[in-house]
Amino acid sequence: MDEEYDAIVLGTGLKECILSGMLSVSGKKVLHVDRNKYYGGESASICPLEELFSKFGAPAPDDSYGRGRDWNVDLIPKFLMANGQLVKLLIHTGVTRYLEFKSVEGSYVYKGGKISKVPVDQKEALASDLMGMFEKRRFRNFLIYVQDFQQEDPKTWKDFDPTTADMQALYDKFGLDKNTQDFTGHALALYRDDDYLKRPALETIKRIKLYSDSLARYGKSPYLYPMYGLGELPQGFARLSAIYGGTYMLDKPIDEIVIGEGGKVVGVRSGNEIAKCKQVYCDPTYVPDRVRKKGRVVRCICLMDHPIANTKDALSTQIIIPQKQVGRNSDIYVSVVSYTHQVAAKGWFIAMVSTTVETENPENEIKPGLELLGPVRQKFTSVSDYYEPTDEGLQSQIFISQSYDATTHFETTCLDVLDIFKRGTGEEFDFSKIKHELGDEEQ
């Protein structure tokens, strides 16, 4: 450890692993450390199942759960948008070759106590029980408008300036009712609250386009999920970093981030060892004094031996409960994955219900989500804080990832990473530095 590095990365969560990979590829000498014995931090998928049970202090699982090591349980629910930033990053960095994906089978939205499939094409829109006859026509016109919309071509804006007029005005232009607005904003544009209504419509139009472009790629739903769980993602980027010369250390407690003149970081100390460096990149848990709490999240992992009712027995699905449907300020999310993704033993399903905490009784807040699941064999609930850095890190050269406004996908994750990279190195990441040709078969 007693060496000098350009950058030391602390924590092997997804963001830190992407950063580590990008820094190594850019020719920086990188040391990547985690205090845990395993890769992934909070983004790890827990394996075997016994580990998950003991993590939550529950008695060991019985035989009905099958083999413990057939399970890989995520602690944080996320899906990838098929046409989104993370997929682009995976492709550009070549990390996609370490992974295999499956399409999430369906996306559902909650309305009036029951769930309906988010319509993905004209046929489904017409058959959908989310809207009445006339509303369907209006919704269809709205979708056509969004589809034809080109930012560069104001002719497609049709006498509506989305850079100044807000989203509410666009809904009103098409005469969409509150329910349709609700599922459009929350299940298609994936907003977690209704602030977007008062912001320029352009942002929402782009989000709906992302949704439909993603949908166009693999059908069924716009979401992808990796075989063996989300924990495969940070590992893929860690490997990228390693093959470009990054050094890995696990199970290494960090006792101090050593600060030198002018408040600038000069190294990292573990026990008696000090690794010198010019920069540190880390997640909030390594620098409690440099982050502030932004909110709290409640998540409930549910192990079930059956799919969710009314989802056509989908082996994977997402259900969004828009805030207004249950009188809240933020949406409740339910995600389901199963044995078909190699994350559970044969016949088993893992549902995750989560939301932003708004009251003193977080467990009660996720009830509407839990009620959709049917019988649950085992339930693990946790409430965790999430943080953002107190400064940009330019002075200290300590660049801290943030857990900013959560979305149902990884879009914000990638933006944060690219932004940190730019702050840290003063330049945009140059994807052409990756020697694609070398790793590939076309030799």
Partner: protein, 207 residues
């Protein structure tokens, strides 16, 4: 799209730091050898594929190196995923690298359950008159692990001896075991790789 796809099998290298995994990888990719533990020559190299002819069949071995992760940390579990074969490497002049094999074996059977496992004693050029690790010991080890080991080899990356023979044999072992396995494989269990789209922003309609 008229080309017939040659089946490709992921083969991973496992074993202690310094036993010669990257050297084997280097022999496999461009048949060279360097004495220094110089990582530059494989920097950015992820895996490499080569076609082998076994009887009337062609098979591509896709060899993966660890990226040096095993030096201080452990290797990511995802390294093992989807592997069809694992080459467990130790150095013939380094008994410690042999005695720790069972740990690496455990990782392989845990994370790459279906992989065929091959044992490779490397640095055979360094063998003195009195071998550090005897053939009896190697046989005993194979027996101990319930004959999980499909083949054992001795190689020298320095002279190149035995390396090509080893991969030829691994290829033929895989072809044999695949005959039966490919038929059993249910397509269903498989995911897909994501690839760059041909930017068909056209028919991306929701309706």
């Amino acid at each position: 799209m008229a080309t017939i796809k040659i089946p490709e099998q992921k083969v991973i290298l496992c074993g202690e730091y310094g036993v010669g995994k990257s050297s084997i990888f280097r022999r496999f990719t461009n048949n060279t050898f360097v004495t220094a533990t110089d990582r530059k020559s494989t920097l950015g190299l992820d895996h490499y594929s080569k076609t082998y002819h076994v009887g009337d069949r062609d098979l591509k071995l896709q060899l993966w190196d660890t990226g040096g992760m095993e030096r201080v940390a452990s290797i990511t579990s995802s390294y093992y995923k989807f592997a069809e074969a694992a080459v467990l490497v130790f150095a013939l002049d380094n008994p410690a690298s042999f005695h720790i094999l069972s740990q690496h074996l455990l990782d392989i059977v845990t994370y790459a359950e279906n992989a065929k496992i091959f044992l490779c004693g490397n640095k055979s050029d360094l063998l003195s008159d009195v071998p550090q690790i005897t053939d009896t010991e190697i046989e005993a080890f194979c027996e101990q692990c319930h004959n999980l080991i499909t083949g054992t080899y001795k190689t020298s990356c320095k002279t190149g001896e035995g390396v090509e023979e080893m991969f030829n044999d691994i290829a033929s072992q895989l072809v044999q075991s695949n005959r039966s396995r490919l038929e059993l494989q249910s397509m269903e269990q498989h995911g897909f790789k994501i690839t760059p789209s041909e930017e068909t922003t056209e028919d991306s309609c929701l309706c």
